[in-house]
Every structure is written in structure tokens, then in C-alpha cells.
């Protein structure tokens, strides 16, 4: 069992979820409550990371963010940093490619808040933050949970983008899913099998626990 890779995967999944979900909530709320000509196009554009093979997405990200690119040069010159072949690059990539999984379910959840509840919330004199936190978040929670579960799982399993942008560097960019892939490639089926099994058991337990806790949480105050 490659513990280093395992912890890296967990770190990557968690950071992606922690960064992406709040951003997705704002975007989802905006999309849900505003209507404009370009909206269907924007919504479709958000799906782009899903439509191309992950390795290809990774390739374009690599070219777009690498040291030869404008972004890469700007980053190197002014921040002395880089987004390729290191962990922060992976986080960025994971956030980008998981946008569709985060946005869509949350947007649907916002759209489903009944008009009269929205009206009442507006008339209650709460600050927008309080409203979001006290009223809207509990109501869109099932959608947010779906988003979290999808993103978390998908980051765990994702290896195309990660491999391309990260370069399989142990301790830095070699996630468990790359380790499993490597083992399969190297015919170390025993290692691949045990790592897969471990990852599965872990992920299923975490997800089941999450869904159970969230159900209890929601049941404790209702549904």
C-alpha cells in the first residue's frame, strides 16, 4: 500500500471539494436566479472538461499553464511559482475539471427553492450572508451533498489530467489512482488489487458515513 500516494489523494480530494463547493454555490445561485441570453451557452461551456478525454484536457492545461505559456511566464516572473508538476497545479486542475459535477446539482437545488420561501427570506431583514447560511444552505443541502460526493469520488479516481499536469512525482503529484494505474501497467496485479480494494473500501465507507450523517443531521432538524 502506497500510503504517501493515498494521503496525497485524500488531500487533493478534500482541497478540491473545499475550494470548489463554495465557489460553485455562488455560481449556482447566480445561474439559478438570473436569466440572460447567454445562459444556456455558459451552462454548456461549463461541461467542456467532461467532453474531452482527461489526458487531452491535461495536455491542453499543461500547454496553457506550462513555463512556455503566458500564464506560466507571468506566474514565474511575478510570483516565482508554477502550476505544473506540483500539488497546487493538481488542485487547480481538479477544481477546473470538477466544475460540472459541482455546479449542476447545486444549481438545481437552488432552482427548487419555492418562490414563497424566497420571498419570506427577503422580507425577514437578514443580511445576505445570514440568509445564505441559515435559510438557503439547509435547503440546498441535498444538492450540495451530491456535488461533494461526485467531486470527491471523481478526484479520487481521476488520473488522466493529474498524470499529464503533475507528472507522477512521488510525494508531490503521484496520487493513489496513478499508483494503481502504474501497478496495473507493471503487471503488479496483487498490489493493484490490494490498493484498489483499499481505496474502494475507504471511499465507500466515507461516502456511506457522509450520507448517513447528513441524513441524521437533516432528520434531526427534519426531513
Amino acid at each position: 500500500m502506497d500510503w504517501q500516494a493515498f494521503w496525497l489523494s485524500i488531500k487533493l480530494s478534500s482541497m478540491t471539494v473545499v475550494i470548489l463547493i463554495p465557489l460553485a454555490m455562488f455560481a449556482a445561485k447566480f445561474f439559478a436566479y438570473h436569466d440572460f441570453k447567454a445562459k444556456p451557452w455558459l451552462e454548456a461551456l461549463v461541461m467542456v472538461p467532461l467532453v474531452l478525454p482527461p489526458t487531452v484536457v491535461g495536455y491542453y492545461l499543461l500547454v496553457g499553464l506550462g513555463s512556455q505559456s503566458l500564464v506560466g511566464q507571468w506566474l514565474a516572473t511575478y510570483l516565482g511559482t508554477s502550476l505544473v508538476f506540483n500539488f497546487s497545479g493538481l488542485v487547480l486542475a481538479s477544481v477546473l475539471i470538477n466544475i460540472p459535477f459541482a455546479l449542476q446539482p447545486i444549481q438545481r437545488a437552488f432552482e427548487a427553492i419555492p418562490m414563497d420561501v424566497r420571498d419570506a427570506a427577503l422580507c425577514c431583514g437578514m443580511s445576505p450572508w445570514a440568509r445564505l447560511y441559515k435559510i438557503e444552505l439547509p435547503m440546498v443541502w441535498p444538492g450540495v451533498l451530491t456535488a461533494i460526493v461526485l467531486c470527491f469520488s471523481h478526484v479520487l479516481g481521476e488520473f488522466g489530467v493529474v498524470l499529464m499536469l503533475g507528472g507522477n512525482i512521488a510525494g508531490e503529484t503521484k496520487t493513489l489512482s496513478i499508483a494503481i494505474y502504474d501497478s496495473v501497467q507493471a503487471f503488479d496485479l496483487a498490489a493493484a488489487g490490494s490498493m484498489s480494494l483499499f481505496l474502494l473500501v475507504f471511499a465507500v465507507s466515507v461516502l456511506a458515513l457522509t450520507s448517513h450523517l447528513s441524513r441524521r443531521m437533516v432528520a434531526a432538524n427534519g426531513q
Partner: protein, 375 residues
Amino acid sequence: MANNPDEFRCQISQQTPIPLQLDFSCQGGEILAIVGPSGGGKTSLLRMLAGLSQPQEGEISLGEEVWFDSEKHLCLSPQQRHIGYVPQHFGLFPRLTALENVLAGLDHLPKSQRREHGLTWLQRVGLGDYGHRLPRQLSGGQKQRVALARALSREPKVLLLDEPFSALDVQTRDGLYQHLIQLIDELAIPIILVTHDIQEAFLLADKMLLLHQGKMLQSGAPAEIWAKPVNELVARQMGHKNILPVECIGLTQSDAEFSLAGQTLRLPSATGIELGTQFGCIFNQASLRLMPLEVNQLGDTAEHWLWVRVIQVRVIAGAVRVELMLEQSECMLELILEPGLNLEFGLPGSRLLNIQPNQRRQLAVDPWRLILIPS
């Protein structure tokens, strides 16, 4: 504009999405009841007052504070207006408990006072023990009371109530009336109350406004509107039942003769009555008296009485409801017989009066109590 310090003024007009044309005001400490047929635009109006939608044109203000002005493109948000609003369908927050729902409106209070204040109001609406319940665990009337507590507890600058008592029984309702009256004594704010219950409007409202298809049909003190409805629709909304078409067929200086389904009535003359004009005539309860069975008691000249046939008799709360049909016509009259009012003073109950379906009876009419409305 030199307004009263807490006069709430509203003057709006629009064509779409639904036509609305209104101009009214409500002083602090006053209750303005808005009544009208279902679909008349009452909820739409309240949403505009709350800032949840914008009229096409007009102005809404509270004292010196302008809330909406179409010319200046000014529109305060619902938060800025600091209103209390009970939506028609309650709009409770489904994931918050009853108490949290009430507390949600108390952000303007210091944190330490909120809980106590919220609990007090839950108790006032009779839900002291239900604070921990979620909306979906409450009955219809309990939900409505939570919504009421949420709106009343926040000491708003204006209170907007959309049929706030519709799901409540008489007893609970009566208790809440008291709290509302108490609140108005304490805060002296304008209260706009949409209601379908005329009794409620009479009991609570200082002014009343009749809304039909977005137009103000009539406004004024409830008793005034009741006594002088401008047309049949208003009359019916005010609870008048026996509105029959009459035509002026004779006119002297003091009297006017009217034909009513073949029978003739002599009423005191008044301005505006001309030969041949048609009116709706409201035979309200106080104007009618059913005569005992011995016929011809009033003589044969029909001046202040009508021949009717009894159609149905039904005992209702402490009284008897009789349906009568004017002879030789399809005109129906409804009569609530309370002992001593429309009957000679005596014991109640149709049995004692011996009113039976299909009887032919005389109905005495008090001409001074009839109400004529343009038809």
C-alpha cells in the same frame, strides 16, 4: 410632500403582468382591510408593497421615506423597508424549526434578546410547546401561526398580512385579534390586512378597500361601504345577499314606485331616481319581517309588502335560515330569522313558527332600510 410622520402612501398603476390601479394611504396605528374577489390582485399588491415586485409606475412611501418611485428609478429592497409580511402560503423556512423561523426575523435585535422575544411570540400564538418542530410537523393552522409570529415579532415599520387567519378556528382567531390590537397600540404602525372575512374586517379595520380586477372599486370605513355600496359586486363582497333588480315605474314628490318581478313596492323617493331607471335593491335582514301564516294581514294593497313562497327552512346557529322565492318569479330571498327580529318576538325555531316549505307568506318590507344601488 409633507406627509404624516408615519402615513403609508401607495399610488401605483400598471398594465402588465396584471392590471393594477390603486391609490390609498394608511395612517400609523390604523388597520386597512383589503377585500375583494379571489384573483382580484390583493396578493400581487402586497408583494409590491413588500418590495418583492415592482409596479410599472407610481410611488410608495412611508412618512418621509420613499420606498418606491418609478420616476426617480428608486426602489428599496424588502430588507430596507423593514416590514413584517405574512405571505398567503406562509413561506416558512422548511429546514428551520418553528422557533428558528421566528428568530430568522429578529436580526435587528441584540443577540441576547432574540430567543426570549421569539419564545414570547410563539407563546402568544399558542405554540409555546412547538418551538422545536419543523414546519412539516405542524398542522395547517399551526404553520400559519408561526408565520404570524415571525412577522409580528420583528417590530416592523409596516405590517402586511395576506389572509393571516384563514386557517384558524374561531377561538384561536379571537385570541390573535387581541394580540394584533395590542401590537398596534404598542407600535402604532400602519397595518394592511388582506382578508375574505367581512366580520374580521369589520372587527379590526378602520378603513377598507375593495379590489376587483386590479381596480379600487370603493374605499372608506367598513360600515359606510356596507351601508352604501357603489355597485352589486361591492354589495355581494360585503356580504349582502338579497339583491334584486327593481325598476322605477312611478314617481311622486315623496314616494317612488318600483316594480319587482310583477309586484309593486313603494319606497321613499330620493335624488337620482328617475322614471324607468333600473336599480339593484338590497333587502337586508333588518328590512324584512316574515308575517305569521294568517294571510292578508297587511291588506290587499301591496305597498310595503311582498308575496313569497317558502322554499327551504334550515336551523342554524341560534336562528333559522329561510329561503323564499318571490311569487311569479325566480327571485330568491334569504332570511335569517332571529327571534324578535324578523319574527314577532317569541321563541326561536321554525317548528314554533310553523314555517314549512311551500307555504305562501307575506313578507313585510321596511322601506327606510332598503339600499338602492345602480345596476
